[in-house]
Amino acid sequence: MTDHAFLEVKDLRVEYTSDKQIIHAVNGASFSLEKGETLGLVGETGAGKTTIAKSILRVLPDRAASIRSGKILYNGEDLLSASEERMRSIRGNEIAMIFQDPMTALNPTMTVGYQIFEAIMLHNTCEKAEGKARAEAMLEKVGIPAVRYHDYPHQFSGGMKQRVVIAMALACNPALLLSDEPTTALDVTIQAQVLDMMKDLKTEFQTSMIMITHDLGIVAEVCDKVAVCYAGEIVEYGTMEDIFDNPLHPYTVGLFHSLPDMSGKRNRLTPIKGMMPDPVSLPEGCFFAERCPYATEKCREIHPQLEKADGEHEVRCFGKENGKHG
């Protein structure tokens, strides 16, 4: 192992301002990723997953969002202090992103081929003909015949569009791929096709990946590491086996209990009570204390830190030292 991680996010804080209200979207998120790994960033709507990914690429909306503090170290280089020009050479080239909704992620007035071609030409100095040939090759790679280069996005189905988006993201063979719920908008059978393809391509291109999802099933299928996101921070981090076999944080445990069991009998679901705290006014103590069945006075007063449980497994909960669960 080298002295620095491939990607390290340290104490990232992002705020949105809307109508004089400050929305605390990301509150000190930290995690790291080794080369070749896939990290699952799991959490519910509003947990700050997408904001974290957009912060890495620095494509947050200029006016509304601001990165308050933190470091994003990519091969040791802090992306948050890099020049805009340096960022442009990284975006799409070294780090690429796949957005959630393929219906809106493609420019409706440009041929799909050109949109891939554009990505290639931005980061390579090659002849146009070669760029086009490479774009066509990318299309074939994701299972779309190259003859459809000149078709427009609306001529494709949702699954095909997402394939185009993936082709575009992988066009410059990025070292890191940020996938923001890439299959949420797709039907299950299509989702299965796309996930299979992504796994194959990831192996072929040796890409590291951050997979943002709310679906624990997808995490089990594609991820090596998992970071559970809640109210803008990481509450639990570990290998996939750590999280699935030995979840420590009450929120992670609650998530598993909320899922209908596919194999066993029909037991009554045990949902997590209540809702995520309002990101405008976060509580002082643990963000999950309100909904936590084990919460104590301490949990409501002091904000817990992410601490090592065993091996790589980390958890942000006093419960571990209290010995109440886990």
Binding site: D19, Q21, D278, V280
Partner: protein
């Protein structure tokens, strides 16, 4: 983000009213409209002269203490005439917009809600109607109805139904596609109930905005008619007619043209500003 849930009943109107003051343009617009309304309602008491009083000793006088806006070629006090003209422009434009909006609104709602044959007929009719120049319609209707304030209002109103019908049809179609309409049908609500309780409240915002701005447009139309000597009876002062009269002397007495024009512009501006602010305040995507 999320508002602290309120235990008090708040109407949609109050929500708009709470947002509106945050928009500077809308506030400016509203203040001007309020001042205009004062002129419209109490104009007679605000000037010492009658609009028809001719003072041959004081023809073409520039703005002065006695005549703040000066006098015209007959020595009539321009301020009095402007104030009188405001009354005409204001009521006729507001009235015509209401007529357009009601007639156009009914057409648009029927076309959008019922669709099918009704929609086809109404839209084909509008295709025909809107390819006829507004001036032709308006002047012909004026001719049919005969001269007068109310007939001018009606002529302008009938001329303007096309755009309102199209606007409301569009937003009715949008509202109709929502599941809450299905839900209302599932509890056996009548079409009338659905239109009145669900469709109209959700489709009306763009219409209200364009009605507000439509008042401005109609004020310009009235001035255009006045300029060519139509609309209001010629002995009464009207802003467009005043412009037209003043035009011959504008090289020497520019105030004859400047003052009516400025009034037209400020009035139109105020309605546009207010409408623009309303559009933002009524945008359902914005949370307060």
């Amino acid at each position: 983000m999320k508002n602290e849930p309120s235990n008090k009943r708040r109407s949609q109107f109050s929500l708009v009213m709470r947002r509106l003051p945050k928009n500077k343009g809308a506030v400016v617009g509203l203040v001007i409209i309020a001042m205009l309304l004062v002129i419209v309602l109490f104009g007679d008491y605000l000037t010492p002269y009658d609009y028809y009083h001719q003072d041959y000793m004081n023809m073409f006088s520039f703005p002065s203490r006695a005549h703040p806006f000066g006098t015209d070629s007959f020595g009539r006090d321009i301020m009095s005439r402007i104030f009188y003209g405001a009354r005409f422009s204001f009521w006729v434009s507001v009235g015509s917009v209401i007529i357009s909006a009601i007639l156009g609104g009914i057409l648009g709602t029927v076309a959008g809600y019922y669709g099918g044959v009704a929609d086809t007929i109404i839209m084909r009719f509008l295709d025909v109607y809107q390819s006829i120049p507004g001036l032709v319609l308006c002047l012909s209707f004026s001719a049919v109805f005969g001269p007068g304030t109310f007939t001018t209002m009606a002529a302008l109103g009938i001329t303007g139904i096309g755009s309102y019908a199209r606007i409301l049809r569009g937003s009715v179609l949008q509202a109709k596609g929502n599941d809450y309409v299905e839900a209302a049908r599932a509890v056996k609500a009548s079409d009338f109930h659905i239109i009145v309780r669900h469709i109209i409240p959700n489709a009306i915002s763009p219409m209200i905005v364009s009605m507000t701005m439509g008042v401005g447009t109609d004020i310009i139309s009235i001035a255009t008619l006045g300029f060519v000597g139509m609309g209001i009876p010629s002995h009464l002062p009207e802003w467009g007619a005043m412009l037209s009269e003043g035009r011959s002397y504008m090289g020497i007495y520019p105030h004859l043209v400047l003052i009516p024009g400025i009034f037209i512009m400020i009035t139109v501006l105020s309605f546009n500003l207010f409408g623009d602010g309303l559009r933002d305040a009524m945008d359902p995507r914005l949370k307060d």
